[in-house]
Symmetry: C2
């Protein structure tokens, strides 16, 4: 099923309305090419000529989190605010490699990790739902520049 349809279906199931704002916000999220925060999303929507309010963005993101289509990630060991969001369907795995020098984020796909999660939960009698791996490492460019992290 198309991911848009999944969202529409979720709204219908909860007796919620298919508004233009929700459609546009979701479309914008699909257009994002990297994990994004509220301001990035708002800026993109403004660029597209939409006049969605920040409040509606927050409300829609909350909705999407509840639908399971969206998730939040924290990219820095110290990140407390400026939550970053990422579409669940967009990446095969929920795993990111974060450069501790420049902050660049790239997705990683590794069947091994899924298997490890399955093994761990199975051993402990848990029912696996999802996982998120963050690897912090210095990218080749930053190494070349001689950037060091504390």
């Amino acid at each position: 099923m198309e991911i848009q349809q999944q969202f529409e279906q979720f709204l219908s199931q909860r007796g919620m309305k298919h508004t233009n704002e929700r459609r546009e916000i979701f479309r914008a999220i699909l257009d994002m090419d990297a994990p994004f925060d509220v301001d990035k999303l708002l800026f993109y929507l403004k660029q597209q000529g939409e006049k969605t309010s920040k409040a509606t963005i927050y409300r829609t993101l909350q909705l999407l989190l509840e639908s399971g289509l969206l998730r939040t990630i924290s990219l820095s060991p110290a990140a407390a605010r400026d939550t970053l969001y990422s579409l669940c369907g967009k990446y095969r795995a929920y795993d990111h490699l974060v450069c501790t020098g420049c902050g660049k984020v790239r997705d990683i796909e590794k069947q091994q990790i899924c298997l490890s999660c399955q093994t761990i939960t199975k051993e402990l009698g848990y029912k696996l739902e999802s996982h998120s791996l963050r690897i912090f490492a210095l990218c080749p460019e930053c190494q070349a520049k001689g950037i060091k992290t504390c």
Copy 2:
């Protein structure tokens, strides 16, 4: 080296003072038996008769993050605020298994994951620093209670 000494050494290196507040906050962190937030730490310190201010706690946590002795983790896919902290030295791995039913957190140790991270970063030319894996799963108790997550 003792972990307390590492903190004291870090302070010395930066020309910072060994105050009672910092010592007590660090001691309290050592006493924590699970990832904690600022309020939990403050409550514990009050219980111990300390009258440390919230501002000092924030300042000291920041310091500890910079020293590399402490790290933050986000436990829920939707957690945006109420940052949780965890001592780096306390757990062998930075990996947690989070119950999506009751929110209970337990530590996991799995050599496999470290190996996966090494492989991934090596392949891409990154220099590995650390990683954090969060697995979201339903614990046996919640399964028994018939709790379901969205």
